[in-house]
């Protein structure tokens, strides 16, 4: 009852304020009337009766106010009044208001979007049950890990006691036919325990069983939810259906759940069992190092214990099948057991941490700047606060008013920030380097929203508090006096410190951006070893149709190249098994005759068709190039690259030397291949990595057919525009070939350095924002200072100071602040550059040129920021300022 009344009466006051006020006024009036009537009745004159009643009851207005100030609604009322007043105040200085909202918005928006992007990658646990128990296991070789082979996996799976499940996976790109048009799908071949290791089970149908993963076992496949919806329209009766993959029939046995995120291969749409041969033939793929191993630790088992246990098995493995390990490069030295989360993020972690650090700096700079602006504003409003205090506003009331203002600012800035964050997340996802894991999980989510909101509120309270303390701490009398611009402020100290901090922070950002810029600049002047301009590339896959003979297969390739060469605007074209700087990574063992039994280690293998070198414009150094005369029937001819030749043969002539490559290493009785030429080095994995060993062989002479080839086309004009015509040409020769990854070579080269560029773009943006903020801060402090010291400056010039003296006075002050900030910032920048050291290329983290350039830039910009207020000071007319007193 009473609560109800509280609510309804309060709401009535809020909604029908006028009527409620009238009620109070009426009641007070009635009280007065009755009092007057009582005095009249005692015989006073009407005049005297009214005066007596007023004396008795007090001021009617005060009574009304007293009655009205009762009730919870009154608190809302005053808060609303505060808010209205705050809004008015903010509108009164639109420049500062807009600046604060913009700065806050940028700071909050940038940090929220970066946090949104980084959170799922670095901090959120993987989307599996007990993700901390998931590990990635590598063969240890020297200090680094390498892919394992099936033989090692089997031995570990049989012996190890530390794991609930161990599984190996490799990527698989089958072509699905039988539907409308052939489609190349991303998939994985996995050992039966793969989903058990992840602890995720199909939503429809069943998981793989041991019986599926047998040599020559049944062809079964599990689909992703995505593929199920796209290819089968989400048909719940899909289990048992047949699909054609690479011309073989597969039975669908399951569909993974909708939310299943496959972090090892995010694009994978289907999975089939590995079905390797458990008898481990020494010339089989069972010994190839091409499998990734994941394991789920038993509850309570640690990664260290698992590693120790597996390391102890190494001698056993070597004894078990010496022949197999002999051809596959020896047993592993030991094993590396990483957490799966750390493993999949290892490549991008340094860049992301650096970016996270950068955005934090921007946020801090933004906060400092906003504080600075609000302090400046607080100083300007000292007189106002003194006046309000003199009129009876309590200290807490003043603080409340100021907090309302800053919270309003923070809310507005926060709203803008969320809008920016939303856009930022989209931009980041679009900009992100291709190897970034878990890109699909990036979105502005609830956590991030709370994060943004809480930093906004915190900033609001923080920056609100400083001017509030300033204003309330100050002696009111002094405040009133100071409002007449007579004395210079002592609060300069705080603002000076803030500017120093801003300069130092933006210096850190600028140095990092500068170092990254140098690295990227140095990278892109490096020649990739071929002419990347006017080159179009695409991957062409075999349709899966069986060929009677290798010759028939090759003839079809030749026909396709011929058709492409006849497309107008095409200068030359050729196929290659792998494309430089495209992420392809395909190496084989090489053994030269002169080295006896010693391998030369793995080298990149390119199986190419005639005209490849000409199309790529890879220069010939010695001997000859490969051409159409290098056919299946002629002796095997090999072209090696320059660094390989120098490394192996030193000053000797490599032409005519004999060697075995690939599977021939296992069959020394097979005929030797001969080195017929040496060509220039080509960057394969990255522009930053040089002098990689490589050999080229004619596709017809390579014993196994490559089912996925890259076509390179040199165009006379715009390469990208030729894509549709070339596709048509290929299909005219063989209509079933899926064509994927169409890209100009220039784009591939740029994309190969996407991670560095991504970091550079982010850092450069942030550094620019930081620089502008620091300059604004400096300008704000100095111009506030000048306007407060107008009188002093007037006196100085009246006493004979020249215009130059005044200019120097102000600029000296500004540059002193900048200089101090630079000194502090340099130390911090050196420390911070350690965070980006892995992203640098051919650039020292202490690169003096970068540091000098950044300091010069900062000094120049702050000089500019000083110049305007200094000029204003120099223009002060002493006669006016002195008269103004």
């Amino acid at each position: 009852m009473s609560l109800w009344r509280q609510l309804t009466r309060g709401l009535r006051v809020l909604t029908k304020g006028a009527a409620a006020d009238q009620d109070v006024a009426d009641e007070v009036q009635h009280y007065l009337d009755e009092a007057t009537a009582a005095h009249l009745a005692r015989g006073l004159s009407p005049e005297d009766a009214r005066r007596a009643a007023r004396l008795e009851c007090g001021n009617a207005t005060v009574v009304r106010e007293q009655v009205r100030s009762y009730g919870w609604e009154n608190l809302i009322g005053t808060s609303l009044a505060d808010l209205r007043y705050a809004g008015r105040q903010l509108r009164k200085s639109p420049g500062i208001t807009a600046a604060v909202i913009l700065i806050l918005g940028l700071g909050v928006g940038a940090s929220t979007s970066i946090f949104s992007a980084v959170n799922p990658i670095l901090f959120e646990p993987l989307p599996y049950p007990h993700p901390d128990r998931l590990t990635m296991i590598w063969d240890k070789r020297g200090d680094s890990g390498r892919l394992t082979n099936f033989a090692t996996y089997r031995a570990l799976a049989e012996r190890s006691r530390s794991f609930d499940a161990l599984a190996v996976v490799k990527s698989w790109q089958p072509t699905m036919t039988g539907h409308a048009e052939p489609e190349r799908l991303e998939g994985q071949r996995v050992s039966a325990g793969y989903f058990r290791a992840l602890a995720v089970w199909p939503a429809i149908g069943r998981d793989f069983q041991q019986a599926d993963d047998q040599f020559h076992g049944p062809n079964v496949v599990i689909l992703s939810d995505r593929a199920w919806r796209r290819r089968f329209g989400g048909d719940p009766a899909v289990v048992g259906r047949q699909v054609t993959l690479d011309d073989a029939g597969f039975t669908v046995v399951g569909v993974m759940p909708r939310g299943f995120e496959n972090v090892l291969a995010p694009d994978a749409d289907l999975w089939a069992p590995l079905q390797y041969n458990p008898s481990l033939p020494t010339d089989g793929r069972e010994w190839g190092h091409h499998l990734r191993m994941v394991g789920r630790l038993r509850p309570g088992a640690s990664r260290d214990r698992a590693r120790n246990e597996m390391d102890a098995m190494v001698p056993d493995l070597a004894r078990m099948s010496p022949a197999g390990y002999a051809v596959s490069g020896g047993p592993p030295e030991g094993f590396l057991v990483d957490s799966l989360q750390a493993d999949i993020t290892a490549d991008v972690r340094p860049a992301l941490v650096a970016v996270l650090g950068a955005v934090m700096l921007v946020l801090v700079i933004a906060c400092v700047n906003v504080t600075n602006l609000l302090v400046a504003r607080g100083v300007q409003r000292r007189g106002e606060f003194a006046m309000r205090a003199a009129l009876g506003a309590g200290r807490s009331r003043l603080i409340r008013q100021l907090l309302t203002e800053s919270l309003l600012l923070a809310a507005l800035g926060g709203a803008l920030g969320l809008a920016i964050a939303d856009a930022g997340v989209r931009v980041l996802a679009a900009l992100s380097p291709p190897e970034l894991p878990r890109v699909g999980a990036i979105a502005v989510d609830a956590t991030v929203f709370v994060f943004a909101l809480s930093i906004t509120t915190l900033i609001g309270l923080l920056v609100g508090l400083i001017p509030a303390l300033h204003a309330s701490r100050s002696n009111l009398q002094a405040g009133m006096r100071e409002s007449s611009h007579r004395t210079a402020g002592r609060h300069q100290w705080t603002r000076g410190a803030l500017v120093v901090a801003e300069v130092a922070l933006s210096l850190i950002l600028l140095v990092s951006a500068g170092l990254l810029f140098h690295s990227v600049q140095r990278l892109f002047v490096i020649s990739p070893g071929f002419d990347a301009s006017h080159l179009l590339t695409m991957q062409v896959q075999e349709s899966g149709r069986p060929f009677e003979t290798p010759v028939a297969r090759y003839r079809l390739l030749e026909q396709a190249v011929e058709a492409v060469r006849h497309v107008p605007g095409v200068e030359d074209a050729a196929f290659t098994s792998q494309l430089p700087l495209s992420g392809d990574f395909d190496t084989y063992g090489v053994r030269f005759e002169k080295d006896g039994n010693a391998d030369s280690g793995p080298a990149f293998r390119y199986a190419v068709t005639a005209g490849y070198f000409e199309t790529m414009r890879i220069p010939l150094r010695r001997g000859r190039l490969l051409d159409q005369h290098d056919a299946a029937t002629t002796p095997a001819a090999i072209v090696i690259n320059e660094s390989f030749a120098t490394r192996v043969f030193h000053d000797q002539d490599p032409i005519g030397q004999r060697l075995h490559v690939g599977s021939d290493l296992l069959h020394p009785e097979r005929p030797w291949a001969t080195v017929v030429g040496v060509v220039g080095d080509v960057k394969q994995s990255s522009l930053a990595v040089g002098e990689e060993d490589a050999f080229y062989v004619s596709a017809t002479q390579w014993p196994f057919p490559d089912r996925l080839l890259s076509l390179v086309v040199r165009a006379r004009g715009n390469a990208a525009a030729l894509a549709p015509a070339i596709r048509t040409a290929i299909w005219s020769a063989d209509k079933d070939r899926p064509i994927v990854r169409v890209a100009t070579m220039e784009r591939l080269v740029a994309a190969s350095e996407a991670r560095r560029r991504f970091a550079l773009v982010v850092f450069a943006t942030f550094a620019l924002v930081g620089l502008v903020l620091a300059a604004t801060g400096l300008y704000g402090v100095l111009s506030g200072n000048v306007s407060e010291r107008t009188r002093e400056i007037g006196v100085r010039s009246a006493l004979g100071a020249s215009r130059g003296d005044i200019l120097a006075l102000v600029i000296r002050q500004g540059l002193a602040l900048t200089g101090l900030g630079v000194v502090l910032g340099l130390g911090a920048a050196v420390a911070a550059s350690g965070a980006i050291v892995t992203l640098l290329f051919a650039t020292s983290r202490l690169d003096p040129l970068t540091y000098a350039g950044v300091v010069a830039l900062l000094m120049a910009v702050s000089g500019l920021a000083c110049w305007v207020p200094a000029w204003r000071a120099a223009c002060v007319d002493p006669s006016i300022t002195l008269r103004a007193e």
Partner: protein
């Protein structure tokens, strides 16, 4: 010599209002005047405090209020004690008596 203190004892205004209204519905001025009369002008009631207290008691559900004509045909807000208000009066009165007699005993005690 100082004027005698006519302030209502802190915390007792509610009790005085409730008691006054237990005799029948009344408007604010009537309540104030009656408290002064019955107390023999020991207490003078401040209209601001009285009106605020009436509002508070009304919201607490101890009083009902409505606008009515007075006998001299003025419009006035009349307050009536509710059932909850009567209970509250009994409780407060008992409490006051207990405490007042305790104070009286302490003052009477002789060394």
């Amino acid at each position: 010599m100082d004027e005698p203190n006519t302030d209502v004892i802190q915390g007792t205004l509610d009790l005085l209002i409730l008691k006054t209204l237990s005799l029948g519905p009344l408007h604010a001025f009537g309540i104030g005047r009656r408290i002064e009369q019955i107390s023999g002008d020991v207490f003078k009631v401040n209209p601001g405090s009285l009106l605020t207290a009436l509002q508070r008691l009304e919201r607490a559900g101890w009083l009902d209020a409505e606008w009515r004509q007075t006998e001299n045909s003025r419009r006035a807000r009349f307050y009536t004690l509710t059932r909850a208000g009567r209970k509250r009066l009994e409780a407060e009165a008992a409490d006051w008596t207990r405490r007042a007699s305790a104070i009286a005993r302490v003052l009477k005690a002789e060394g």
